[in-house]
């Protein structure tokens, strides 16, 4: 698959393009991480993250590619890994500090939200995730999820979001969180 073919697939939301890129360049990316104090597992994590960053940019049409895809992915990996190494070295200094910046309330809130997302129906969840993460257009979403048109999709999205909001808020009330 050529770079252009890959980009086309991504813009259509075809996730198999990701699979392809993952397998094709894994060795190259793994080498970068492993020769820089990384483990095999870390290499996997970093490359997966990099691919997802790439995906998000490409699928939302925010990607300005001036080089090969592999070069672009490589530089994302470099950045991510550098950040990770910095984080690791800071952690060794701030062992105790880290615990203080932990916000238990926020953690609890996020946990509830995630639970509710999981409780949503498939269609609603897909709609919301495609809308917020992939930033797909309503017409694309309509096509992908089988809605009549963009407007139908838009309405459905509004309804799904409302559903999620009330689900979350009811859970909050139950946990007596908001005083």
């Amino acid at each position: 698959m050529s770079d252009n073919e890959i980009l086309d697939k991504i813009r259509r939301g075809d996730e198999s393009a990701l699979d392809y890129l993952y397998k094709k360049y894994f060795k190259m990316m793994a080498k970068l991480i492993i020769t820089n104090n990384g483990t095999d597992e870390e290499a996997r994590d970093i490359y997966q993250e990099a691919l997802i960053v790439f995906w998000q940019k490409a699928v939302s049409n925010n990607l300005v590619l001036t080089s090969k895809i592999s070069t672009y992915l490589y530089s994302i990996c470099q950045n991510l890994w550098r950040k990770e190494l910095d984080r690791k070295s800071r952690l060794s200094y701030e062992d105790k500090d880290g615990a203080d910046t932990f916000d238990p309330d926020k953690e609890e809130r996020i946990k509830i939200i995630n639970n509710c997302i999981n409780e949503l129906g498939d269609t609603c969840r897909k709609l919301l995730t495609y809308y917020y993460f992939d930033e797909m257009s309503m017409s694309d979403i309509a096509e992908k999820l089988g809605f009549a048109n963009a407007d139908t999709a838009k309405t459905k999205k509004y309804k799904c979001k409302k559903q999620l909001d009330s689900l979350i808020k009811s859970k909050f009330k139950a946990s007596d969180f908001l005083d």
Partner: protein, 304 residues
């Protein structure tokens, strides 16, 4: 909250508000704490939805097996093992597929070799008692070697005919066997010579024990071109490692009332061998002049 507000909030959180709109919005946030907490919640919800999608994609990638592409190349090892198994299977099937007649011929040939081996082993130990000429021995050895190579040739010839009769995949096998055969001769031959030496050398003089009692030391020589000479003494066998081919070596046995001591003489140096040396150790030359003198006299007495 109506649809309009929701839209504005979303635009704000996406960063899509213009400068003026954004300032107005943020002013409202400061004035209305409830509104502010609602925005915070909406922010968390949006991030969580994104996070869910991220995890979904990550899981998808994580399930793809790329272990073969990492440094630990499992695929290459799997391929290597399967080739090995294939090789072994074809080797096995080669024998299985050969007709009965040819198997009988092979058995005859191999038993012929074993018989020859036994014969030559019986012959040679007797020769040290003869004059230390070396000629009778070498002729015998040459004969043995000759017949050995003859038999090996016959063997490979018969195997070649067998191979051509059976199905494919045996070409590799045949070649392998030819390679193996010469090695057999080499070590066999060498062993013969060394056995000669040891038997011969151990008719050495001893101080208190009568000289016609020959202590047999079985020697195994590991062919090695390294300059470092090493040895080990395991299960009553002396294993020698290293390049001894520069000059002949001699085993000298010193029997005294404190026991038996074994020495090796090679390249004008004496080395002491310990019979309890079970692991490979380098040969250390003896520097003690008194010991060297005594060993020299022993060697002279042997009438080398």
């Amino acid at each position: 909250m109506n649809a309009n507000t929701t839209e504005i909030i979303e635009s704000y959180l996406k960063g899509e508000l213009s400068g003026a709109e954004k300032t107005a919005f943020e002013a409202q946030l400061e004035q209305d704490p409830l509104f502010k907490s609602e925005i915070e919640l909406q922010k968390d919800i949006m991030n969580s939805i994104k996070g869910y999608r991220k995890n979904q994609l990550k899981e998808r990638l994580n399930n793809i097996d790329v272990s073969a592409t990492s440094y630990f190349n499992l695929a290459a090892i799997k391929i290597g093992i399967s080739i090995l198994i294939l090789g072994m299977l074809s080797y096995g099937s080669y024998f299985y597929l050969s007709s009965e007649d040819e198997i009988k011929e092979e058995i005859k040939v191999t038993s012929g070799i074993t018989q020859e081996k036994i014969a030559s082993e019986v012959d040679i130990p007797q020769t040290p008692k003869e004059a230390n000429d070396g000629n009778p021995e070498s002729i015998k050895e040459q004969e043995v070697v000759k017949t050995e190579s003859q038999i090996i040739k016959e063997e490979t010839a018969s195997k070649k005919s067998v191979a051509s009769n059976t199905e494919s995949k045996n070409a590799k096998v045949e070649r392998k066997e030819v390679i193996v055969a010469p090695n057999v001769i080499d070590t066999f031959e060498e062993k013969q010579i060394i056995v000669n030496n040891s038997h011969f050398d151990n008719t050495s003089n001893s101080n208190t024990i009568p000289s016609d009692k020959i202590t047999e030391v079985e020697i195994k020589h590991e062919e090695n071109k390294s300059k470092d000479l090493k040895y080990k003494y395991l299960n009553k066998k002396l294993y020698l490692y290293g390049d001894f081919s520069t000059s002949p070596y001699e085993l000298i046995e010193l029997n005294s009332n404190v026991g038996k001591k074994l020495f090796l003489f090679h390249n004008n140096l004496y080395y002491q061998l310990s019979e309890s040396q079970k692991t490979i150790a380098p040969l250390a030359p003896i520097n003690d002049s008194i010991v060297i003198q005594e060993l020299d006299s022993l060697k002279a007495k042997k009438g080398n």
